[in-house]
Amino acid sequence: MIEAVGLTKRYGKTLAVDNLSFTVPTGRVTGFLGPNGAGKSTTMRMILGLDAPTGGSALIDGKHYRDLHQPLRTVGALLDAKWVHPNRSARAHLQWMAKSNKINPKRVDEVLDIVGLTSVANKRAGGFSLGMSQRLGIAAALLGDPQVLLFDEPVNGLDPEGILWIRKFMHRLAEEGRTVFVSSHLLSEMALTAQELVVIGRGKLISQTSTEDFVAQATENTVRVRSPHLSALRTALGRTGVSLRDEGDSLVVTGMDCAEIGELAASTGAVLHELSPQRGSLEEAFMQLTGDSVEYHAGLAETIDLVAAGK
């Protein structure tokens, strides 16, 4: 379990992480969601003891990272796939890491096999593609067979095949009873990968819930109704206390599903020309929640386009 209590990081005048408190439960994939620049990587570096918090603390199973004995056996992390010397082979990179935590050298070949890098183990890591580097980073994270795993934007820049592989892999790790904490700025990706969500914007906690609840709560469920008997229908709907909105020649109903509206229309004898559920996209929901806290505004519409394009 990872626990952040009042975690704060200040760089000069900017507050990168602001009094952030959350817990990452065991046996689940927890997504760490926020727009670029929200403070996700800084938070992860503080959890790993690389950056010192200005205030508060981050604990792993109740301990500071610094106080862990042979930390790679407790926490595996992939913060950046490029943290490898380009002239060192993949195997040599894992070898020194294994040695540092007295991990059996045989484990190096095991993890290389798990991530599918056995055939290029002796090649220099500088020549690896992004996908291969990412796999090497995951191999390094798995080296000590840790109970807690942290991944920072692991699918960034990967092709669909690589994304699918990582997604399945995270699920498997959680099923094995591990704590998996994975950051992303893409809600659509997190909706598929994570069961729990910690959402932040501008360094502040926005919400911590299950992914399901977050999506349900965030996406407004509305139904569009078109009818030649709109005024009668409006009166009938108005009595139920749902909220109504006119949109051209149609009515947008919030707080009632299609079946209920259809039944109500039948009982009032109103003919329906259209009865269609409108589901807000995940991206819109995300923007709705974090919209006010995007660090670098590019104009909302452009931002939605960027997010939707997966950039």
């Binding site: 003891g49 913060l79 010397h85 040695k99 935590n101």
Partner: protein, 254 residues
């Protein structure tokens, strides 16, 4: 011991230490060959003169030592290191020890290699290493390289950028110490206490009266302390720099 093994793996699984070793040996031994080749009856070869090129090797060794740290910052493997070994002082000390040991070995190979080449090329001259001075002049190179490597590692930790650290080291050792002598009155007084001048004094100070005249060997240092106190001060300087760099590395975000 584990940490030393870690740093040994890290150092020898990249190419720069191998290249630096070869270059360091090449320039020192090559220079000894040049000295021996140009030696004549009135400019005889001496043990001390065979070590004329040690300064060139010293530069290469310091570049190697600084790179051993700055490349870790350059490629962020220092973060991976601190992630695996959260005790930063222990991790960096282990690195310093491994790099200093390699530098010492390079120094010994360079010194005895230079001496060996000189011996082979001038067989009629007696180049046997007999006196304390001669031992210091040859074996002492190992010690000086090791301490210089500690200084370079410390500068590497402080500066973090390869180009910056190397420029600083080269400018200091090649220019700054000598330029200090140009300051009126106090210049020479300061110069005799500067670290690399003291290291040079350790290797060349208190020469044998039997040796050839000063102008045929490496120039003499103006330091007035004895050779051993001189190298002790040089080592103290290295340790001080290392201590400062460790304090800074612990306080800084990785």
């Amino acid at each position: 011991m584990t940490l030393l093994a870690v740093e040994r793996i890290k150092l020898f699984t990249t190419r720069s230490p191998w290249w630096c070793t070869l270059i360091a040996l090449g320039v020192t031994v090559g220079f000894a060959a040049l000295m021996a080749g140009t030696a004549e009856a009135d400019v005889p070869m001496t043990v001390s003169a065979s070590q004329f090129g040690y300064g060139f090797g010293l530069v290469v060794v310091m570049v190697m030592a600084a790179l051993a740290v700055t490349t870790e910052y350059r490629f962020s493997t220092i973060r991976a290191t601190f992630q695996a070994i959260p005790n930063r002082s222990a991790a960096l000390l282990a690195k310093t020890v491994v790099v200093a040991l390699l530098a010492g070995v390079i120094g010994l190979l360079a010194a005895f290699g230079s001496w060996g080449v000189a011996t082979m090329m001038t067989p009629d001259v007696d180049l046997a290493i007999n006196t304390a001075f001669e031992w210091r002049a040859v074996a002492g190179v190992g010690l000086v390289y090791a301490i210089a490597a500690v200084v370079a590692v410390a500068v590497g930790i402080l500066v973090r950028h390869s180009a910056g650290a190397i420029s600083l080291l080269l400018i200091y050792t090649n220019l700054v110490e000598n330029l200090v002598t140009l300051i009126p009155t106090v210049g020479p007084k300061i110069h005799q206490w500067l670290p690399f001048n003291l290291a040079h004094h350790f290797l060349t100070g208190n020469p044998d009266p039997t040796g050839r005249p000063d102008q045929f060997g490496p120039g003499l240092s103006d330091a007035t302390v004895g050779p051993w106190p001189a190298v002790a001060i040089f080592a103290g300087f290295g340790l001080l720099m290392l201590l400062i760099s460790l304090v800074v590395a612990n306080r800084r975000d990785a």
